[in-house]
Symmetry: D2
């Protein structure tokens, strides 16, 4: 019943100035509307469609940027981890560790993330049904860490397409953990461009609004000032200059949804 | 941008008193919240899962009930047609003809419905993508009748399950025709009970709210005072005594959505 | 355990000479390999993707062609029916009535087809699970006609795509009715070309062979001497000049499958 | 065009005697029919549905068993790896490293597996289309190792179900790499039993035969003398005592398929 959290940032961390530019814009929009802001960025894209996709700036440089963002904007930061080894190092700086969808069943990664005591945002695998995420959350919780978040990012729907099943949000909420809607990855079209993924960014605000109207904890949206030239996920990222309007709109639906909770 | 229309009623027409009882309850809830009300009922279930399912009261008796509802409640009525021959007879009384999802590609039925000059609500086949409904609408419009409505009722998602893709609503809206969300059939589980369909009625208000938040023209919901003993579609119908709260809630989201239209 | 039946012909009947040309080629290939041949053609395409698609030559002319094919080639013929009214008229000539996939749940059509006493080949709807076809077959059988055939033609798999689930063939065979694989419609891509369907004809022999290896009763394949200029279904029809090799190959797999039946 | 390879063994390695018992039975069946035999077993199940599922005997004990199997039966062995670190150690003993489906896009794992110079069998993710596996194979091949195998194990098809698309086999074969059908995981029902996966073992021989009829390089089948009491994947494993008949049957279809290759 707390106001919506906005988890936003570029798909890939590029450099400090870029991170600041994006964080500043989103932080301002959040502050103006009462949203909590969590800055998101990836330091490594470990599962690109093809070997030609850019990997990222690496963990060390990424962590320095996250520290700077925390210091400058006073906001928590989130990033994805891909191996057990990364968890402890990342957790020195980062507030929320994110488990990528493909890896959401890897027990050792979940346990390592849980043991850091940090928040753990688990993306639902594209191959999983929403009720199965209860078992996944239990793996993290078995470490004594209950700061789990469960995130919808679309389910495989034929080839090269995903569908965001709105039934999944209240289903996952039955676990008692906060539920997050990843509105930009849910409109990706995996492998849709042959050597990389396509996307339908025009539908990201659609899915975000539908999800927020159901009374969720957070929306995850990737954004870029020039998505078509971003190093990854361009086709599904939201233009940075549209983010203030998107956030302001979502906050209105959030207020209404929190005042009128669905009983499922 | 007009307020939401509520299309509601029992799956099957049972008798005049039953229709009145349901229409009265929903009409009152609509009047209280500024929604337009359209009464829905079927006089024939032409495509039951098995031969054991009840078919319905027949066209003649059905039309008499519709006339009585129109006279008593002053509301338009909608029913589904299954053959070309039915169209003209039904159109003598009924305001909106509905094309069942399985039949949404049957050209002669679409043309016959169009030629009546009545409204034509076309359910998107569970086997069709949203953009294909443009071709379907064109079939009706070719008769000179542009009172077309396009209705989402879920897409086949593996076996015995449907998914309501929220991207489909703004996609169908690009045609310029009003878009309807059928929130109760979208939570049906076709063939899920062997000789009949199952359903998840708890999710019907979830899908209705998500859809309404996107700014659609109408919501379609089947309702019954005792769904578990209804002659058909019990598992997915909403309890009649819950309808006022559901409608009141939807009207709030509708007002916000109409004030803040999505541009897709 | 009888040898495979080949149901083949053009998607649309064009004229007598065209039907004879195709029937001659396929009949010869069947005779050479011990397959039974059933000639297939449609006199009306009642559910084209758009209004611009050609409808067909009509029932009367179609029936005259079927009579001529029966007389000339001594083979049974099959065609699809779309309304109750057509069933009796078509059954005067045609040996097997085919229920289109979209219409496979329309009770009155199934009963009318059953009452003719002719064979009834029911295509499994793209929206149905294989076990549900048992209920569908029961509708026909309730008329006292047990000459039912159940036909796989693909299941909705995301948008604009179908998948042929090989588990469906032995599942439908549990009913005791002969099972047919429609290898050319299963590779169609519904609405894939915008105003018409696309297709992947290169995979039709793939699906045919996989299905035949499981020991089915019949394969359904549409063929044309010039598919890219055929009035419908061009993208998924097999080139006529390739049919003899396809049939000869399938008959080898059929012999092996019938000698080594799967127990499911 | 070489005879079919049978990759078979228990889902989990249990102990040396158990491995020998299973290997002996399958090796004998392969020798009797001219199949090449590769022994399969897992030393760690890193992605169980829930934390309650058994993990396995561990890498060290697993490698000792693999060495013993190689020595006793003279056959290659295959096992799955889950981290970069495991690759070199496992490759000291194991002939073919297998990349689990969930991990098939993890670039570093693919590169580490490739660098061992061993064979690399990559399971197609349940979330990937067959053409995307070309990019995946390129990641391994970039290490100079072209001993890649591409393996179908089913694609997400709604919730708790998979479908094996037969079009995927010739599609993946276009890469030039050998194609494998995993017939037992393709009939798993992920999460279908709540805290573990269900399965339809009766369909494993169905999918194996359909795939082999298309002319593939290898079939992967898990087997157990008592599947219902196996530590994992019981519902989809084939009874060990049925394996000789299954293998003998597949070899007949393989011979026919190799003599009559499909041109796709």
């Amino acid at each position: 019943d707390r106001p919506l959290t906005i988890i936003a940032g570029p798909c890939q961390l590029e450099d400090r100035d870029h991170a600041f530019m994006i964080a500043a814009k989103v932080a301002e929009a959040c502050a103006a509307t009462g949203a909590q802001f969590v800055f998101k960025g990836s330091f490594d894209k470990a599962n690109r469609t093809s070997l030609n996709g850019k990997r990222g700036i690496g963990m060390e440089e990424g962590l320095r940027i996250f520290e700077a963002v925390q210091a400058e904007f006073g906001c928590p930061v989130i990033t994805d981890v891909h191996t057990e080894e990364q968890c402890a190092a990342v957790a020195e700086v980062v507030d929320i560790l994110q488990i990528p969808a493909f890896l959401c069943r890897q027990t050792d990664l979940l346990l390592a993330a849980g043991r850091t005591g940090r928040g753990v945002n688990i993306k639902k695998g594209q191959f999983l049904s929403p009720p199965e995420m209860s078992n996944v959350a239990d793996k993290v919780a078995s470490t004594g860490n209950d700061k789990v978040m469960l995130c919808e990012r679309g389910t495989t729907f034929g080839y090269n397409n995903l569908v965001a099943d709105m039934r999944g949000l209240p289903t996952m909420a039955r676990t008692g953990y906060p539920v997050v809607m990843d509105a930009t990855h849910a409109v990706a079209q995996p492998g849709g461009l042959g050597g990389s993924s396509g996307g339908q960014r025009e539908f990201a605000p659609v899915l975000a609004r539908a999800a927020v109207s159901l009374g969720i904890a957070a929306v995850f949206m990737e954004t870029h000032q020039d998505p078509d030239n971003a190093p990854s996920d361009g086709p599904n990222m939201i233009y940075l200059d549209q983010m203030p309007a998107v956030i302001a709109s979502l906050m209105q639906f959030d207020a209404l949804a929190k005042a009128d909770p669905l009983r499922v």
